[in-house]
């Protein structure tokens, strides 16, 4: 993450911006070498992460700032995304998905992120708000069968 991101954008914390970000991340993941299924899962994780910032970080306030930075890496091929906000700062240890045995609406977002991404970590930003880093590796191609 030492070099500048390949893509860096700032959105407001309004739900109508979820779709444009999904479309962008989907395309970037595809360019990175992920198959369609994985692109869908990465977009879903991204969407859930942003929705959590809007819902919990900014409490539904529509003019909060959210910064999204994305890097594509080679050797090994992977996609890294960092989401930063200036919303409510929480102890990262309290961020966890709900018990899936508990059938009720809501609370699935963190579970989706953890299930989908190879790495994800939340931290408090020094200037306030939260930073989420997510990484997904492109699965290695299966070796060709011997002839």
């Amino acid at each position: 993450m030492s070099r500048d991101p390949d893509i860096s954008i700032r959105i407001f914390s309004a739900p109508e911006f979820l779709r444009p970000v999904r479309v962008m991340v989907d395309a970037l993941a595809s360019q990175c070498g992920f198959d369609d299924h994985s692109c869908g899962l990465i977009s879903l994780a991204m969407d859930e992460a942003l929705a959590n910032v809007m819902r919990h970080g900014y409490k539904g306030q529509r003019d909060g700032r959210i910064w999204i930075s994305a890097w594509t890496h080679e050797s090994p091929d992977s996609l890294e995304v960092v989401i930063e906000d200036l919303g409510v700062s929480v102890d990262p240890r309290t961020i966890r998905g709900r018990d899936l045995e508990d059938v009720r609406p809501g609370g699935l977002g963190v579970h989706f992120i953890r299930h989908t991404m190879d790495e994800c970590s939340w931290e408090q930003r020094p200037g306030g708000g939260m930073r989420l880093r997510m990484l997904k590796m492109v699965p290695a191609a299966a070796p060709e069968p011997p002839r």
Binding site: L18, R19, L44, D47, A51, L100, V103, P105
Partner: protein, 113 residues
């Protein structure tokens, strides 16, 4: 500026069929929730949700359907989902809630379920 999601409503005998059209995320799930709630308030014996025109659904969409399922259980009515796209099915599978729902491969199968 938000790309809208619409919901078509049809009646087949005593069954109500709702067909949402568009991506269901945090921006659009409240509207779907409202539509489903107004249909379920009439307590039809069976509600079919045809998801053939829903290419994407996030956890807020799934939460809306869980709520609909809980209402149908309270009403002792049936809720059947059909025509899930691969991406929508995948979101359901990750949530591990897929086994809670009655899911049909087609609208005809959902009507017969």
């Amino acid at each position: 500026m938000a790309k809208t999601m619409t919901v078509e409503q049809a009646t087949e005998g005593s069954t109500v069929v709702l067909t949402p059209k568009g991506e269901i995320d945090m921006a659009h799930s409240p509207s779907l929730q409202k539509t489903i709630a107004s249909v379920q308030a009439e307590k039809p014996p069976k509600l079919v949700l045809d998801l053939s025109a829903v290419p994407y659904m996030d956890s807020s969409g799934i939460a809306t359907l869980v709520e609909a399922l809980q209402t149908s259980m309270r009403n002792k009515s049936k809720l059947v989902l059909c025509n899930l796209s691969p991406r929508v099915r995948s979101a359901f599978e990750i949530s591990r809630l897929i086994q809670m729902f009655s899911i049909a491969e087609s609208r005809d199968a959902a009507l017969k379920a």
